[in-house]
Symmetry: C2
Subunit: 436 residues, 2 copies
């Protein structure tokens, strides 16, 4: 049987999972690739730490030239994470003639164009299934399986940490307790800021928007809000209204222009995206031929991510990745195929929550400001004041009819200056059944 | 730009959809394939009927030699359906040097080995994404995206017609009315027997079991029960117990042996498979590395199926299909990689419904027979007799603990002979939350 020599750079959690699949399940890759994927070297700066895999003697080294200097190695998985030295290492791997597989979404979102141009110039390929949604093969599905479609809409829960935290908040935990629980259970890092502020989700969205729409947009230019501003009160009101709050990453084509954003969003209960729990990821894609397709799976974790990396290594070894890479012209510096809609022009329904003084005339003032900004009210929740509180301030929740980001944003700014409103007020997008 | 000449045999509903994608959206296939897919000929025995696509003059013909005799045509979609003349035509296409794309699950389930052996011998390929689950790209996902996994379990709602009918029955329609509604709305054919008796689902299951487990099993040898025996009473009892009834196709590896069956099954409400409505399909796959992955989409219909066919045509034109076809050794006559578990040994929980005489001692007799067959009772529903009925016969519903197909089957045969039981009794499998 033919043999393709492969290597791993970065023996952390995912790297260890990849090593286990290659070393312990060689029969499987042989069967699915028609050839042996022979793990020739693993490079990590720490060669002493114990890992949960039995490594043959001499496999692990801290010397990258064991890979770059060995022309027999054809495919290398970069699993270091972060921007540097990952970027430099990927460039070195490409220049030494290796095809690269990576799980590093930050690297692609930041340096995709440079890396892909380099790979193209050298006749090499980069595969990156594991960079978005872990075990859900969304990259292959968009770039191959749905290739007869114009994708119209793409809505995803792409950050498992955030989804775990909002699931716990729905069960009644406050934000801080939910974050601690996520950390204790291994679903959040010691510093979870890239997850909870939406950075991770928006980087993945940039990659998907690139693939599905030919968008050329930097992740920093995509409007982004994380779950770190969520209040338990909003989870409760959403529930009362028949919604769950999810951190949604959205890319949507309307009249040939692309809308992009990441934001906590009220999603109607009973729809597939609303029912995604714990650390799961999900993506709802609408194609103009295929209609709606929904994918659900584990978005992170050692073995789900390793599953995606090894599938890419197999695809690269047999030659499928090379074909896809050449035909798709990913991250080329060509002109974008779509324009990006100004965030202020994004249409939608909104959930607004104000903390207001409990006296006559307040509702009229608020309704007046909304009316002047052409924000029409669909429903209102105002409960009796909590008898335990002093009763002078009460929450007021308003669901709007269709309006725009810009109109609601401006109305909120004006409302927060009213003497009867105690800022900051809360504003979230709403996704209804017909749209989800 | 490079050009790949392609053709279609069979201009029915799906063929028309494929023609529309190729003719009206050539830019799209050019972008995703890096080449033009040029529709060179369409063959159908009926060249006069009006179709919902604008065909350039001279494209449509009833002469297959316009394709087989034209060496410039490389890829042909066979969209006739049925066994003959589809089989003969596919063989002719392969022998004239064409790569074939097909949506014909019956053909593959019946003649897969012959067709694939012929294609291999001739150095050609057969792609068949559209043959299972229409718009859900389950073939590519199992054979490529999840290739680092040993699939452990595969559970699918693979027949949209049946799912539409059970959804209507859940809403209170009886079976006959639900079938008429499905026919009126275009979700069932004039003769829906292949759909409602489980044949269609079991043929698709045979293809998936082949791909995911290397099983070599003929679809006729897979135990199969359709929805044509479902009673409204069972839908209601299932609902009362917190379940929905779904026609599930199941392939599951336990201790290295494969369990295969298609049967109406009680699925716990709130789990993803239970919430699949109308004519949708869904597949839940568990891989040993990736964990659970869930796919949901339209399993039939013109454009979803055409989407899968055109994706296959693109994959074939660019060369990916050829690689997959060579490495996977599909339908080869090699030994099966797994044994198939005897149906009688299948473990599970069961829903049993009896029509019994309403007098003392009946429950003791039934419990006695079940006990002798080691079938343990988990719960019982027996309501007060309907005052409108004469009250002499009442339904008795029993949910069992874990037992086997064989034990419950034998117990039921004995029970149906008791004087206090009015046959036929009903027996269905139960899928609980932990398993789904």
């Amino acid at each position: 049987m033919d043999k393709t020599r492969v290597a791993i750079v970065g023996l952390g959690t995912v790297g260890t999972g990849v090593a286990r699949l290659l070393l312990d399940h060689g029969d499987r890759t042989a069967r699915h690739a028609g050839r042996t994927l022979w793990l020739e070297a693993i490079v990590d700066r720490d060669t002493r730490r114990q890992r949960d895999v039995d490594l043959p003697a001499g496999l692990l080294t801290d010397d990258l030239s064991r890979i770059t200097g060995n022309p027999a190695i054809q495919v290398v998985a970069e699993l270091i994470g972060g921007l540097e030295p990952a970027r430099t290492i990927v460039l070195e791997l490409l220049r030494s003639g290796k095809d690269v597989v990576t799980a590093n979404k930050a690297l692609l979102a930041e340096h995709g164009a440079e890396l892909f141009d380099t790979a193209r110039a050298l006749g090499r390929s980069i595969a990156f299934e594991a960079s978005v949604a872990g075990g859900i093969p969304i990259i292959a599905n968009i770039s191959q399986c749905l290739s007869a479609n114009q994708v119209l809409s793409l809505r995803g829960i792409l950050n498992g940490t955030s989804n775990f935290i909002v699931t716990k908040m729905e069960e009644g935990m406050d934000y801080a307790a939910a974050v601690s629980t996520a950390q204790r259970m291994g679903f959040a890092e010691a510093d979870p800021s890239m997850d909870v502020d939406g950075t991770d989700a928006v980087q993945k969205l940039a990659i998907l928007a690139h693939l599905a729409f030919g968008a050329r947009v930097h992740w920093r230019d995509i409007p982004r809000q994380g779950i770190n501003t969520l209040h338990l009160a909003d989870m409760r009101f959403a529930c009362e209204l028949g919604y769950r709050i999810k951190l949604l990453a959205v890319a949507e084509l309307t009249q040939g222009v692309l809308e992009l954003h990441v934001a906590p969003t009220l999603v109607r209960m009973g729809t597939p995206l609303a029912e995604v729990r714990e650390a799961y990821n999900a993506i709802s894609v609408i194609g103009d031929a295929v209609g709606p397709v929904f994918f659900h799976g584990l978005g992170a974790g050692q073995m789900p991510t390793a599953s995606a990396v090894v599938a890419d290594m197999i695809d690269t070894a047999v030659g499928r990745t090379g074909i896809t890479f050449r035909t798709l012209e990913l991250w080329s510096r060509r002109e974008a195929r779509v324009g990006i809609r100004d965030h202020a022009d994004l249409k939608g329904r909104f959930y607004l929550r104000f903390t207001v003084e409990d006296h006559p005339g307040v509702m009229a003032q608020i309704a007046g400001v909304l009316g002047r900004h052409a924000v029409s009210i669909a429903s209102i929740i105002q409960h009796e004041p909590d008898p335990a509180s002093d009763g002078s301030l009460v929450p007021l929740v308003i669901m709007t009819h269709m309006t725009t980001e810009g109109a609601t944003h401006q109305a909120m700014q004006e409302l927060d200056r009213l003497p009867c409103v105690m800022p900051p007020s809360v504003r979230m997008r709403v996704l209804d059944r017909s749209e989800s």
